[in-house]
Every structure is written in C-alpha cells, then in structure tokens.
C-alpha cells in the first residue's frame, strides 16, 4: 500500500515537472524542472527494485547529461529569446487538442489489454538471493548483452567525434541571418567575440 502511495506521489511530481518544462519561458527554469522530473523517475525505478538504474538515472541523466545542457545554456546568451514568442502560433492550439487525444488513445489501449507475465523467475527475492540487482544485472550485461554493450561503446565514440566535428569553428566565413539578405551578414570575428 505504501508503495502504491509513493508511486502516485512520484508520478504526480514527475508529470507536474514535465508540464513545467514545456510551459516555462526561461530555459534555466525548464532545465531545473527537468532535473526534478528525472529524480522523481529515479524514485519510481527504486520502487520497482531497479536499484542500479535509479542510481544511473541520477548520475548520468540528472548529473552528466543535464550538466552538459546547463553548460551550453550558459555559453549562449539566451536572455534575448525570452522576449520572443515562445510557442508556434497556430500549431499551439492543434497540439493542445491533439496531445490529450493521443494520451487518451494510449491510456484506452493500455487499460483495455490484459497483461500477462512471462514469469522468468527473476523476482526481487530471487535477485536478492543471487547477490542483488547490481550483481545480476552486471552478469547479464556482460554475457547475454555483450554484443549490444560493445555497440553502445561504438555509439558513444561516434557521438563524441560527431560533436567535436559539428561544434568546431570554421574561420574566415561571414555569417548571415538570412542567406538571401546581404545586409544581415556580420563578420565572423564579431560573432566569435559575442559567442
């Protein structure tokens, strides 16, 4: 019973944080609310006895990935965008109607289906008897999931190289807001001073 209650609390906080992320005009506020949402999701992982994932959720998601976001947010001068229109003008109302419709569809399907368990035997009690969630998860990761694990390392490598390539500066080029409008062009050195 206590678990159900905690689930509802975590879920409510997560959804509230997520709603905050997509409605705030200040990007930094959105970032903090996203961290809040992720920590609540980590709480739900804990309730599900996925201990390792709960820790990884906080370390990697709320820690590493969002700190990366925070760095880039601080690099760029975002204050000027707060005065601008934050939502697509016409599209906004279409989304306000269609997103709840999609949600209702998913909820309808999910509650209509009867879910049955495969029952592979890795109950929390069995996992605890075998040395705990981290131990069993690690064992499976390095035996059953070895090939995907190696591919994941490749994805990280490609991501790193791609990020460096994309963010590298090309010097000596003038920069235009609109390509067809020469008046908008500013020199690369000026932009570099500002960025």
């Amino acid at each position: 019973m206590a678990e159900k209650l905690l689930f509802i609390v975590f879920a409510a906080f997560a959804v509230a944080g997520a709603l905050g992320v997509i409605t705030r005009s200040n990007v930094v506020h959105g970032l903090i609310l996203l961290v809040f949402t992720f920590i609540n999701v980590a709480g739900i992982f804990l309730l599900t006895q996925a201990h390792f994932l709960a820790v990884i959720q906080i370390l990697v998601y709320a820690g590493a990935i969002l700190v990366l976001f925070a760095f880039v947010v601080m690099f760029l001068n975002l204050r000027e965008f707060q005065q601008e229109e934050q939502f697509h003008r016409g599209q906004k109302w279409a989304v306000v109607v269609l997103a709840p419709v999609m949600l209702a569809e998913i909820v309808f399907v999910v509650t209509a289906v009867t879910w049955s368990s495969v029952g592979d035997g890795f109950t929390p009690e069995a996992i605890a008897a075998q040395g705990g969630n981290v131990m069993v998860l690690g064992e499976q990761l390095f035996t059953k999931m070895l090939l995907p694990f190696e591919i994941a390392s490749l994805i990280l490598l490609v991501g790193m190289v791609g990020a460096i390539l994309l963010a590298a500066k090309e010097d000596g080029e003038s920069v235009c807001l609109r390509e067809w409008d020469d008046d908008d062009c500013v020199s690369a050195s000026l932009v570099e001073r500002e960025v």
């Binding site: 959804v15 599900t48 934050q86 906004k92 499976q140 999931m145 990280l156 390539l165 920069v175 235009c176």
Partner: protein, 101 residues
C-alpha cells in the same frame, strides 16, 4: 507485482504525450531537446515496468542502452545547437527553414 503494470504504462503515456506536445509547440530549440529527453524517459519507465512484470532483467539492460543513446544524442544535439547559434544568431526552430548554411 505490488504496483500494477497499467500504472507504469499510464505514467509513461503522460510523460510521452507531454514530451511530444513540447516538441510540437515550443519554438526554443533547447526546450525541444528537453522534451525529447522526456520522451526517452517515458520509454525507460515502460521498459523497467515490463522488466518487473516479466520477472527478468532484459528490460533493465535495455534501459542502459537507451541512456547511452540519450547521452550521444544530447552531445550531438548540443553541438548542433552551438553551430546553429553561431551561424544564425537565433534558437527559434521556425527560423531554420533552409537546408544550406
């Protein structure tokens, strides 16, 4: 299972719908990236819930790979954000309407 699987699925549906709405209606590129992360988290909740339902750990292993992809996606997405900002001096997604440059 103490918590019924439907609860996980409904929570995940909520987060996914909110993330999809954020991608479609916000103009700020950062918020669009945040919304994508929200949708990925919704998927992770589903995977963990099903892993608990089926009493095996394949779902939890998969969440690790989803997080790997999310990390790579965040790195590349942010590199694109800085490149776009340097070239166009704006972050509003509807301003990026030509492919070249």
């Amino acid at each position: 299972m103490v918590i019924p699987i439907e609860w996980y699925l409904v929570l995940s549906a909520f987060l996914f719908a909110i993330g999809a709405a954020g991608v479609l209606m916000r103009r700020n590129l950062f918020i669009v990236l945040f919304s994508i992360e929200l949708m990925m988290n919704a998927v992770n909740i589903n995977l963990v819930g099903f892993s608990r339902l089926h009493e095996n750990l394949i779902g939890q292993n998969f969440v690790l790979f989803t997080m790997t992809v999310a990390a790579a996606e965040a790195a590349i997405g942010l590199a694109i954000v800085t490149a776009l900002y340097r070239n166009r001096r704006t972050l509003m997604v509807d301003m990026f309407d030509v492919m070249k440059g």
